[in-house]
């Protein structure tokens, strides 16, 4: 059974929120004002905002983009 990340965030009282903000930048600033570490993503619409293309893309990437591999990737990327 996977470890519950949520448990980490919610139940440990001194667990620090560390936030990645994608979209409206003022949200990032509001969090900084509250002393939260934030990384703001300078987001732009993928595929030039072409939703149909994105559907195709997701279809192709299904399986390729399997969660397990992502987790693995993150673990390795941390080293």
């Amino acid at each position: 059974m996977k470890k519950s990340y949520l448990g980490k965030v919610m139940i440990m009282p001194n667990k620090k929120l560390k936030v990645i903000n994608i979209g409206i930048e003022t949200f990032a600033e509001d969090l900084r004002k509250q002393g939260v570490e934030v990384v703001h993503v300078d987001w732009r619409p993928p595929a030039g905002g072409d939703v149909e293309i994105l559907k195709l893309l997701d279809k192709l990437e299904e399986g390729v983009d399997s969660p397990e591999r992502d987790c693995l990737k993150r673990l390795t990327s941390k080293q």
Binding site: G23, I24, E25, T26, E29, H40, W43
Partner: protein
């Protein structure tokens, strides 16, 4: 809810950054300037820059600001919003994620003034001052004064915030021990090198101020100015906090003005040549109770506002530089305590 990631912060949009979108109006091979708007211009910066064609030369470049050397060792600072208003500051709308060090400005670049434009380097940066408001550090505070007791409570609030949010690699470490006027007895406590070395001089300075002895004030000031880590040496920050608070509180509270201004003048007399240029600037203004807005606001809040406002104001100051903010707060704490004692004494006895 909002269905577009439109950034509600307008200034990010304003800036025309060269690179992928150069401005086509000019069809010659000159470098394309970054255009900024000045929002506020400090009164002193205005005097220093606006009656001349050639303002000066870029002296130093930092992430949030760059300094221009005018003449006979005077500076003005061109700063990002997050630095805030100040007597020698020109506040621009450079968005926070752009660093002054990365917009092509280099040391020794010429800084010229054409009409209401400030031009840096060979058209590397052009700042329009057309819509800039003048800012002069306020001396009289707006809100009604609190009782001395309440002011003291506010000081405690500031102290607590500093203890929890401060950086203690400099003299700021002493904040924890400012209860007792005989500071030096804590010398045995585990202090960092700088705090340990500075402590005796600080407590001597405080005694000297109480006693009003110019000689001793100068003696210990000389030991302190330019002392400590950081670009603006730790002790300088402490002193500018001290002098600013003395001047401003004296201005607003019923205590002997001349006494204070004399203290500050004595300290001022020791400054020249003893510390880095930038630090010297801050000290010199502090003498007259002039400082960057966050510092003034903090002192104002201590005298007039509720604890939570003091807390926020203190956080603003603590955020200055790395350890500078904490050192400044130390100075404010010492200065305020001094004058509040004085004021209370007058309340009682006159």
């Amino acid at each position: 809810m909002i269905s577009q990631p439109t950034d509600i912060e307008p200034q990010t949009g304003k800036v025309v950054i060269s690179g992928e979108k150069p401005d086509f109006s000019s069809s010659t091979m000159i470098t394309h300037p970054l255009r900024l708007e000045a929002i506020f211009i400090g009164s002193i910066a205005a005097n220093r820059s606006f009656n001349q064609e050639r303002i000066g030369q870029v002296h130093s470049v930092f992430r949030r600001a760059f300094n221009v050397l005018i003449s006979d060792n005077q500076l003005i600072s061109i700063v990002r919003r997050d630095v805030g208003k100040g007597p020698i500051n020109i506040v621009t709308n450079l968005p926070q994620y752009r660093s002054m060090t990365s917009i092509g400005i280099r040391r020794k670049y010429e800084v010229l003034k054409v009409d209401d434009l400030i031009i840096v380097g060979n058209n590397v940066l052009i700042i329009s001052t057309k819509n800039a408001k003048q800012w002069r550090p306020r001396k009289e505070f707006r809100g009604n004064l609190l009782t001395i007791k309440k002011m003291r409570d506010n000081l405690m609030v500031m102290k607590e915030v500093a203890c929890s949010h401060g950086h203690f690699d400099g003299l700021g470490q002493l904040i924890k021990y400012t209860e007792d006027e005989h500071l030096e007895k804590f010398i045995t406590k585990k202090l960092n090198l700088f705090a340990r070395m500075a402590l005796p001089h600080i407590s001597r300075l405080l005694k000297a101020i109480k006693a009003g002895s110019s000689q001793d004030i100068k003696r210990s000031a000389k030991k302190l100015i330019g002392f400590g880590p950081g670009l603006t040496p730790s002790a300088d920050d402490m002193l500018s906090g001290l002098m600013t608070s003395l001047a401003l509180i004296a201005e607003n509270l019923d205590v002997n003005m001349n006494f204070v201004s004399k203290v500050n003048k004595d300290i001022a007399s020791c400054i020249p040549g003893r510390t880095a240029l930038i630090s010297q600037e801050f000290l010199m203004h502090a003498v007259a109770g002039e400082a960057n807005e966050p510092i003034i606001t903090l002192i104002e809040k201590i005298l007039t506002a509720k604890p939570n406002e003091v807390e926020n104001a203190a956080k603003e100051v603590l955020a200055i530089g790395d350890i500078s903010g904490t050192d400044i707060v130390l100075g404010i704490l010492l200065g305020s305590q001094l004058l509040l004692d004085e004021a209370q004494y007058l309340d009682k006895n006159i």
